[in-house]
Symmetry: C2
Subunit: 420 residues, 2 copies
């Protein structure tokens, strides 16, 4: 195992961050285009490294789903390069004047958007995150320290090597993008306490990683990506539309955080709607976990099991759907408050007063009226690119675009003003 000096990495990242913060948009665009070109030109080496990672993973018995996540193909590499070019073409949030005015005493006050400084990103199997996050960091003038999953260490190393070539090509320090090149888990804890140098930690992974960061980090952490999401169906809803929305929210991509986990059905319509819902989704491979009332309605239906303790507190990430009958809006809101993670919550209704109450009273990053929870996404919301989906409330909530990787400074210009 190599000896990794995280203090030295942090110090180098901070030094690089000053350089990056001073770059013009043109210079950052040039750097990003160089990265895209290097990723394409170096595809062969990356694929070779990735093949070793995949072979190792297979030998270690990783699931096919996980192997697919870590697999790179020529097509996926092309997509990676295209994503970097897409980021290059986005507007640069840095340097924007957020506000500016003259105070009564003549002081000129403004707030200017500036990079955060140094990002620490901890992620799991996908090697594409290496390039995606490096591109977003460069775009926003931040240095980044990457800690990928051990399963993709070779792939990540090969990709960061190409990023370094690109940085060198445009005369930028390689410390702008650094990889923690070791599977040693102790280094994650060290990274989480590197508060002298690192300004923000972004964990991209499951609940265990999120909790580790929340517990251990002395650096602000952007928690996110964990969605126990609900769709509440009222009697007044367009029921055919409701089937379509729930199908979309559950089936289109069940493994992601904005998929629905539990459907709450108003009791007055449960007998009509629940059998239709099961008939619609079961042929698509969905299994159900029903509360007692829903179970009574769906007795004898194949694929419908009684919900067990804790089932309504699980993020399924698969073709499983919780079903629960509620007496009405109050119970729906109470259930969501007790079991939701503040990610994506939807009501399907034609009742204006209820829609308004749901929007006002449900506390989540995104609240939907008559729309699929799958729309909770940076791309869908028009943010250009997505850093993560935050489920905490400070700094950024919901889909985080490039702007969430910036902060601001206050600038005050006077003529030898003193406070009275």
């Amino acid at each position: 195992m190599t000896t990794i000096d995280l203090q030295a990495m942090g110090k180098a990242a901070k030094a690089a961050s000053y350089r990056l913060a001073a770059l013009s948009s043109q210079e950052k665009t040039a750097a990003l285009l160089a990265v895209a070109a290097q990723v394409e030109a170096g595809a062969e080496a990356v694929l070779a490294a990735n093949a070793q990672d995949v072979a190792d993973g297979r030998a270690r018995g990783l699931s096919e789903a996980l192997l697919d996540r870590l697999l790179l193909t020529p097509q996926r590499i092309d997509k990676l390069a295209a994503a970097v070019r897409h980021v290059a073409a986005l507007p640069d949030p840095v340097g924007m004047e957020i506000e500016g005015r003259v105070l009564p005493n003549g002081l000129r006050l403004s707030r200017r958007r500036v990079p955060l400084g140094v990002l620490g990103v901890i992620y799991e199997a996908r090697p594409n995150v290496t390039v995606d996050i490096a591109a977003l960091a460069l775009k926003t003038g931040n240095a980044v320290i990457l800690r990928g999953g051990s399963e993709t260490l070779r792939s990540n190393r090969a990709l960061v090597h190409l990023i370094h070539r690109a940085l060198e090509e445009v005369g930028l320090p390689s410390a702008a993008v650094q990889l923690i090149d070791s599977p040693d888990r102790a280094l994650v804890r060290q990274l989480l306490r590197l508060d002298t140098y690192v300004d923000m930690i972004i964990p991209r992974g499951g609940a265990k990683l999120q909790r580790l960061c929340q517990e251990e980090s002395t650096i602000p952490v952007i928690l996110g990506g964990i969605g126990i999401n609900h769709i509440y169906v009222e009697t007044s809803a367009d029921l055919e539309g409701a089937l379509r929305v729930i199908e979309n929210a559950k089936v289109q991509r069940p493994s992601v955080c904005n998929a629905v986990d539990t459907v709450l059905v108003e009791s007055a319509v449960a007998k009509t709607f629940l059998p239709q819902l099961v008939a619609r989704l079961r042929p698509l491979g969905v299994e159900f976990r029903a509360d007692a009332e829903a179970m009574a309605i769906l007795a004898g239906e194949a694929g419908v099991l009684p919900a067990e303790a804790g089932d309504f507190d699980r993020e399924w990430l698969s073709l499983v759907l919780g079903l629960k009958v509620v007496s009405g809006l109050d119970e729906a809101i109470a259930h969501i408050r007790a079991h939701g993670t503040g990610h994506s919550e939807a009501i399907l209704t034609n009742d204006l007063a209820h829609a308004t109450r749901f929007v006002d009273e449900v506390d989540a990053a995104a609240v939907f009226v008559n729309a699929s929870t799958r729309f909770n996404d940076g791309g869908q919301f028009g943010l250009g690119a997505e850093v993560a989906i935050s489920t905490q409330k400070l700094h950024a909530r919901g889909p985080m675009g490039p702007e969430a990787l910036t902060t601001y400074k206050w600038i005050v210009q006077g003529k030898m003003h003193v406070r009275v």
Copy 2:
């Protein structure tokens, strides 16, 4: 010692927060005016409780400075009530639509400002913080759990009792404002891990408290209020004005975080300027800690001592001023990067290129050109009221107004839209 159940307090605060979030601005104003009236009406009881705190503090040998901080007088109570009325009159940030548009697919997307939920505020000797923070929390629709210093427990208890009377008067739950009514230090650590219920921790106190929160909290913490601040004087500056600005920044209120700690002087003007500076400030009671070069210039001056190791890393909070000669802008920026806390940094110059570089390259909450660092203040910046001065970069940087106690939710309205 009473048994305090923080879980129960957290749960009650969260429940109250839903109620507060639903209040109209008028209802919140009524609650604040009721608080102001109760504080005035109950002044006698508060003064009696405070007198006990002060007597206890004196018996325990607290310094006169600390005793003064915890002392309440009829005038100070009047000021407290006036501050609550001032907060009542501020614009309500909650409910504001931050952005709104129709996506290409017809979905209506908006972002709305909403309360954070539950605040945890940990502070030291000043009982006025109890009322100030409660008022700001109510204004922004947040519940708050207060943990004041043990020296002011009786005063805080009396004040919170009055706040509860006011809440009862307007029909709001007393759990909206709760005091941890015990000096037990273990409760601070428990509060810092109450992440199920508490959304933000605000420590208002010294470096030790800040570090404790940074280390122990699993809730996002707003670090702030620690300022090792610099004023860099260039040869091109209006030197008479520079004396005025430095006097203001050091002497007006030396015990606060936006006071200056170190003056950096460009070497070309050091021989002229440093003796003038000492002549100006020494009669006002200022003592100096000079680096070797400054010492050589100031040899034999009374009140000038050689800076010791670590002196440039101290927040003086008193009439002590560090002096250092630098070769020019590069060294000034390097010194600030190495020793500053990202609070308030100033350059005094008439060189446009240097002023621009200083503003661009110094990474601090507030950067000043030809103005006193003392202006880094919510009131001075026109924020209406100040929650704290943040020196971290996420969520809010620099003076935090009421808006910093809010977050936003995304609201998406469709017509049974599904993602394609």
